[in-house]
Amino acid sequence: MSVIAQPETRAAQTFRVTRSRRNVVWTGAGALIAVVALADLPYRVYSGTTSLLVQAFIVLTLASMWNLLAGYAGLVSVGQQGFVGLGAYFVLIFALHGLSPFAALPVAAIACGVAALPLWWLVSRLRSGYFAIATWVLAATLMLFIERFNSLGGGTGLPLPGFTGMSPKLLTAYTYWAGLAVTVVALLAVYLLLRSRVGLVLTAIRDDEVAARSSGARVGLARLLVFVVAGVGCGAAGAVLAISQLQVQPSADFSVSWTAEMAFATIIGGLGTIEGPIIGTVVYMVLQQTLQNFNAWYLIILGLVAIVVALFARRGLWGLVDSRLNIRLFPVGYWLRSGRTEGGGTVGSGANPV
């Protein structure tokens, strides 16, 4: 909302550079109210509702991270389940050493970010589709590696220690708050990252990688940063998963269906927008809940919808909303208005409004 006022000498040359086409104070206030209302929920609803919401928080966090990777940095990773699993197992490792799982959560997330550095060094040698499968192989390798440790439960996993003496009600409430906190921090981090200088580089990569490179944007560095941030985010989601399940299990925590879920939620909601993953998660949860008695059907339908959206509505559901109503809940770009005519164009964003 920074407004650069030009001296009003000639109307035609007066420009205002704003972050948004509309005032976003209301969005911020709305988001704050929503978070406060959500934080208050454990006092008001049954634990069935909160555990459902914990699932939604996990999917939303994952989808936001995948959006950052694929929507902005052009990195289609099919191996983010590797970080989900690592996050879950880091919580287990710290819990086995006596740390409370809730205290272990942030440490596990940071450990995942550290682990992302050598993994990036490995997979960054490959591009596009080969990068995608390389991350997948890496996730499979991580799972096989972890299964070798019998102290971590081998191929069957272990229950998570450190919950003894906690009342079930308190446990579900804490789990819920942990999930909510992770999601809020993840969304805020994505928002702030995209508003920063790196965000400008990322938006440039999203729109045209070659042009971004030739303009001197440090594409490699921005990608590394995104990969690490996504590692932290997916690791945190994995940690929440372990806490909400009260156990870790290699084949479930390292399952590629995590990546399918985060990718499809993002694509359906709208790739390359912050709002997209939120809408996508809602659609995902609704589909999953309505079709949960039909086994794999929700994944089939989700896959089909994702294909149709990718082909025919490339900006997803949010793109449809945005093109009609012209709104942006989380403005990360710049919007240039001339003083005389109310039309304008975005700066540094190419064809798509930022």
């Binding site: 694929a70 052009g74 289609v76 099919v78 490995l122 997979v123 040698r125 490959l126 591009r127 596009s128 589709g129 080969y130 995608a132 499968i133 390389a134 997948w136 192989v137 890496l138 499979a140 390798t141 096989l144 590696f145 299964e147 070798r148 590629v256 269906s257 399918a260 990718a263 499809f264 694509i267 790739l271 086994n295 794999a296 059907w297 994944l299 089939i300 989700l302 896959g303 089909l304 994702a306 294909i307 990718a310 082909l311 490339r314």
Partner: protein
Amino acid sequence: MAWVNAIIQGVLTGGLYALFACGLSLMFGVMKVVNLAHGDLAVVAGYVGVGIITVTHIPVLWSFLIVVPVMAVVGYALQRTLIQSALNRGVLTTLIVTLGLSMVIENALLEFFTANSRGIGASMTLVTGSFSLGSQVELPYLLLLIFAVAVAVLLGLQWFLSGSSYGRLIRAVADDQEAAQLSGANYAHVFGIAAALALGTVALGGMAFGMYSTLDPTAGTDTILLFAFVAVVIGGLGSLWGTLLGGIVLGVAQQIGAQINISDELLAGYLVFLLVLVLRPQGLVSRRAQT
């Protein structure tokens, strides 16, 4: 001798992995498509084979004559519709669409055919029998046949791509789509033919895998796609014979891993892949680094 046996088994399994890999490599080489549904399509081919054999009771080897053309047609149709329209919208869309296709196929197989695993021709002597060399070295007929088929497929592909006029057309379109189009080539049709060829090899791979091991809905991604990809990267991106070399390296690494500790079979293969990625990211026989 156990080690010699392991290495021989590994080399022979490399033939199977080359069958998985050459279609992936071909589609990338010609259309720049990385088909994430590659492995699932192989599983579909295997299930089609199982279905045909169960319904018509024809001999297993005869079923190949139906499955391979069917999958080739599927490949052509898929390329002309879904993959081509994804390609027109960019690399990212191609990846998303093939990932979506992969998940749809895998879960549809789960839904309609359950998670039970199925084998093909499990009672045949071809599948169970083997030559014995000395006391500990076994040469299974099936693996020998698969290896021979893989070599024949690669020879055939090489002859087709470099020797035939249609192959020249494919290479022309792969080199420069627009120039080929201006010279009168219908690139969409040529892409379709390339996809048909690729899915023909995928069908062979899926059927062979069904005979060598068992098929289940998740085998497509857990095993076939990842092994195919690892073989392609080890061998070198864009190289046809590299897929055989990569397959052999992967197979040998797995068998040696299994010799050390039976549960380390997969891990050993992936570790060799990571090693190649670190030391020689362009692969063992490729000319170009990166893609």
